[in-house]
């Protein structure tokens, strides 16, 4: 039991589950980073849909990073760096899977099924 108490004091708020401050900062940042993209889509202050799409992606990436640092407490030193390494590796696989699938399928649709496409692609000779 005394070992457990020592562990508490040694653990403190430096690492592990983070401090109250890190949760509150994360919550505030996430709130802002959530509000802006919803506002962009619902109030339509920006006319160009492509620009809005890019902004949505940027805000999503920023918020994921905020959650990773403030809520999931991924640091360079956690578990001797293995947590961060696994996270980075997963991110690489995630990007390859999603971007690769969409890229390949878009080109398949464009090049092989022109009659079935709607809009801009059907004009290709």
């Amino acid at each position: 039991m005394s070992a457990a108490t020592d562990h508490d004091e040694a653990h403190g708020s430096e690492h592990g589950h983070g401090s109250k401050k890190s949760y509150l900062v994360g919550f505030a940042l996430s709130g802002i980073l959530t509000f802006i993209p919803f506002w962009l889509v619902m109030a339509k202050p920006v006319g160009n849909p492509g620009m809005v799409a890019i902004l949505i992606i940027l805000f999503a990436v920023a918020q994921i990073l905020v959650h990773t640092v403030c809520f999931l407490h991924v640091t360079t030193s956690g578990e001797g760096g293995w947590t961060l390494l696994a996270y980075a590796f997963t991110t690489v696989l995630l990007v390859i899977t999603i971007a690769g699938s969409m890229w390949i399928m878009y080109h398949l649709n464009t090049n092989m099924m022109p009659g079935m496409m709607t809009g801009e692609v059907s004009t290709t000779p």
Partner: protein
């Protein structure tokens, strides 16, 4: 004697001796369980990557059916996003209370987190019910199949998280904040925050992008 002891109990004892010993030497997280659970979460992220890729490919395959613009209610999504975000910080407060050893506070924050999770799932089920009532069923088009699979899988994860919180409320009530329960609560914390990260992807790429397109 040692050979007749049931293995599970024996291993558990050994495990905790090792854990506490390592903590005394000042290493951050000596328990291999936390890293193992993290690896599980990363593999779960890959599962979601496959579902996001499927949705990305099928998101314009309407088959003459409804498009996102026709069926999505952004107000509901915004409400759900807010609920999940607040539940993330209430779970964070449960972890802070756990660090201080305040059992009642831990249980209170956990119960609040579970209630928020239940509101989230209820609103999502309501949304699904409305969609299906309008004829926007998973069978209607490739877009809707991918949508229900992706959002439904996330909702299922949240449901499992709520059940896990319920189990932990019983465990903490029965055995207090011992080393095993602390470890489990830490794993659940990662799980819960991870689901919020996935939801960022869902509301950004499914709902918001769908309304823009």
């Amino acid at each position: 004697m040692a050979t007749t002891v049931p293995h599970a109990g024996f291993d558990r004892d050994t495990f905790h001796l090792v854990e506490e010993d390592a903590h005394d030497h000042g290493s951050a997280h000596a328990s291999p369980v936390l890293l193992g659970f993290w690896i599980y979460l990363m593999s779960d992220a890959l599962l979601f990557a496959a579902l996001f890729a499927t949705y990305g490919v099928l998101s314009t395959s309407f088959a003459g059916g409804p498009a996102p613009r026709d069926i999505f209610e952004l107000e509901l999504v915004a409400l759900n996003t807010a609920i999940l975000l607040v539940s993330s910080i209430t779970y964070g407060f449960a972890m802070l209370a756990m660090d201080k050893g305040r059992q009642t506070a831990v249980k209170g924050w956990l119960a609040l987190t579970a209630l928020l999770g239940m509101s989230f799932v209820s609103i999502e089920l309501y949304e699904f019910g409305v969609l299906i009532g309008e004829g926007a069923t998973p069978q209607r088009s490739g877009f809707l199949s991918a949508f229900f699979t992706l959002v439904g899988t996330h909702g299922l994860h949240v449901t499992v998280g709520i059940i896990w919180i319920g189990i932990m409320l019983v465990q903490v009530g029965k055995h207090g904040l011992n080393a095993i329960n602390r470890r489990r609560l830490t794993c659940l914390s990662m799980f819960w925050h991870f689901l919020d990260v996935i939801w960022i992807g869902v509301f950004s790429f499914v709902y918001l992008m769908g309304m823009v397109r």
